[in-house]
């Protein structure tokens, strides 16, 4: 089974103070730690497990700058066979749709049975790129996948709905799946593992190699244009309990007695 996995390198912003930069259209990125998008780490793990079981190859592909090599290398260290980076100044400003067009154009030339993407990217959270790639390639898709079994030329997958409900769906190959977190446990990659693949070639393709026109991609090829970033209005905010830890603990105790019926 030949599998292609789309991955994105994103900043880890869960516990850092995010600042809007001078342009008002981006965040201050210096000092942020970047890593493979959480959802994509599950997608690449799933691909490698399938390869280990059924043979074939895993190709990782990402649209991004040179820094993206770091995440592509991580995937190679996990067990991917090949890495492709899609880089061109014409790609900048791409929204989800323009990104999907670039990815689909690159994938079109590769042999594949299955394409995996994450359900959503931690940064922009469009949750659209995977499904759009599928339609641009004329493939069936299933999104938010939490379980996957291969049966000959078809897959049996579990797709997550709301409230703990799932649906079981059958889909013919070739197909595209968007992977949900928790489907597996992504393997750990050691520094040694990364070092081993440090010399491995990462193929870089741009606009002309892909046979795309500049107006199809980047901002001009997008559906939406960013106007500005702003901090969410503070509105109702928690009353912050301050003081020594013991004093805070005392307050929590009182709240629990008062509101929680603690006896």
């Amino acid at each position: 089974m030949n599998i292609i996995v789309c991955i994105k390198r994103v900043p880890d912003t869960a516990d850092v103070d995010i600042v809007v930069d001078k342009s008002g259209k981006d965040i201050e990125k210096s000092g942020l730690v970047f890593d493979l998008n959480e959802w994509d780490s599950y997608a690449i793990e799933e691909a490698i497990r399938l390869k280990e079981k059924l043979g074939g190859t895993v190709t990782v592909i990402s649209m991004g700058g040179e820094d993206t090599n770091e995440s592509l290398r991580k995937c190679l260290a996990m067990g991917a066979d090949e890495a492709i980076r899609l880089t061109d100044s014409a790609f900048s400003g791409s929204d989800g749709y323009a990104t999907a067009k670039v990815l689909a154009q690159a994938i079109r030339r590769l042999p594949y049975d299955l394409i995996l993407t994450g359900t959503q990217a931690e940064d922009d959270g469009f949750a659209e790129v995977g499904v759009m790639v599928a339609k641009l390639l004329g493939l069936p898709h299933v999104s938010i996948v939490t379980r996957l079994e291969v049966e000959d030329r078809k897959l049996r997958v579990h797709r997550e709905l709301e409230g703990g409900l799932e649906e079981v769906v059958e889909v013919d190959l070739p197909a595209l799946l968007t992977i949900q977190t928790g489907i597996n446990e992504p393997r750990y990659v050691s520094i040694m593992g990364i070092r081993k693949v440090a010399k491995k070639e990462i193929r870089v393709l741009g606009l002309s190699e892909l046979g795309l026109q500049a107006e199809e991609v980047g901002l001009r090829g997008s559906d939406i244009e960013l106007q500005r970033f702003f901090l969410p209005p503070v509105g109702e905010w928690a009353q912050i309990l301050e003081g020594k830890p013991e004093e805070i603990a005392q307050r929590v105790f009182e709240i629990l007695k008062d509101k929680g019926g603690l006896v």
Binding site: F126, A127, V142, E167, E170, A175, D223, L231, L256
Partner: protein, 326 residues
């Protein structure tokens, strides 16, 4: 006249809240742009649901077919492709739900219409719209506009808009024939499966102690478990804690887990992503412990404690034990 179209979402015989949220906001938009509000329902044997939507829209389109009994992106894409191409509504609203996330991007590509996903705000602006999206886990809002001409497609985040009832409209139901044929589909619905029920039912607890990724490691779970025990509370968690198998799925709070309304909800090391908040915002009193003073969880919490959970939680636990003995 401009038509605002809502694609209704229903499952297992029930209309989902997002449908009402889209209708309520859609009506406001229709009034602003001087247009009409329509809703389209796809399914089988859902006449009663259409009736229920009558007072909420000017027109309720009903497309019934036994092949539409269970949602499937392939049948939805085919039906909606034809329906929307014919009607060309100015704006089509879809839920940013498991269902909408599955077919909206597909529909956008096939129709060639621009799409903005997961919106929490929408304002008509001339022939365009200004949309607000929330990104970076809720820490930044981004304002976007469409670059291409309409018709436009927008998906709404669940709970972002109120689904309140307004003065009833005198709507009409318009039944349309289904364009589906017996073609073989590449994707087929097989069945629903319910998540396994756990030993504990977190929806029944008065006090929930919920832990998130901030706990760092499964080995640290006993720390919050002891706190829960000391106050007679039950352990709950955010999704990553389940993904990493530190706690069972039955403990998960949020859109893909349980919706809870305890008297007190203590969120420890949880950032407050909307999928989590959707499952706990109805709690009586919410206390959040987080080292990031700007964590979005503080915008739903009533009380906040800013600091390292590994320092704070043990002190609270000990103090409560001490005070309870008195």
């Amino acid at each position: 006249m401009k038509e605002i179209m809502v694609i209704a979402e229903h499952r297992q015989g029930e209309l989902r809240d997002i449908t009402y949220e889209m209708l309520s906001k859609g009506r406001e938009i229709a009034e602003t742009v001087g247009g009409t509000l329509s809703v389209v329902l796809l399914g089988k044997g859902i006449g009663a649901l259409a009736e229920r939507l009558l007072p909420r829209a000017h027109r309720v389109y009903l497309i019934e077919d036994e092949r539409l009994e269970f949602y499937n992106s392939e049948t939805y894409e085919r039906v909606l492709l034809q329906f929307l191409t014919e009607r060309k509504p100015h704006l089509t609203l879809i839920g940013h739900t498991a269902q909408g996330m599955d077919f909206a991007p597909a529909l956008a590509v096939r129709l060639g219409w621009p799409l903005a996903t997961d919106c929490i705000g929408i304002e008509p602006k001339d022939e365009n719209f200004t949309l607000t999206r929330q990104i970076y886990g809720g820490k930044i809002n981004s304002e976007v506009t469409f670059l291409r001409k309409g018709p436009f497609l927008v998906t709404f985040r669940s709970g972002a808009f109120e689904g309140k009832e307004k003065e009833p409209l005198s709507g009409e139901i318009v039944s349309l024939p289904s364009p589906l044929t017996d073609e073989v589909l590449a994707r087929r619905f097989l069945q629903f499966v319910e998540a396994a029920v756990g030993e504990v039912d977190i929806t029944q607890a008065d006090i929930l102690v919920a832990v998130g990724r901030g706990i760092k490691d499964g080995e640290n779970i006993p720390l919050v478990k002891e706190l829960a025990d000391s106050i007679g509370g039950v352990l709950a968690c955010s999704r990553p804690v389940v993904d990493k198998k530190w706690l069972p799925k039955a403990c998960q709070v949020g859109t893909s887990g349980k919706t809870v309304k305890p008297k007190v909800y203590i969120a420890i090391g949880i950032s407050g992503a909307f999928q989590h908040v959707a499952g706990m915002k109805g709690s009586g009193t919410i206390i959040a412990i987080n080292k990031d003073p700007k964590a979005p969880i503080f915008s739903v919490a009533h009380y906040g404690i800013i600091g390292d959970l590994f320092k704070i939680v043990p002190v609270i636990k000990d103090k409560i034990k001490e005070l309870k003995q008195k």
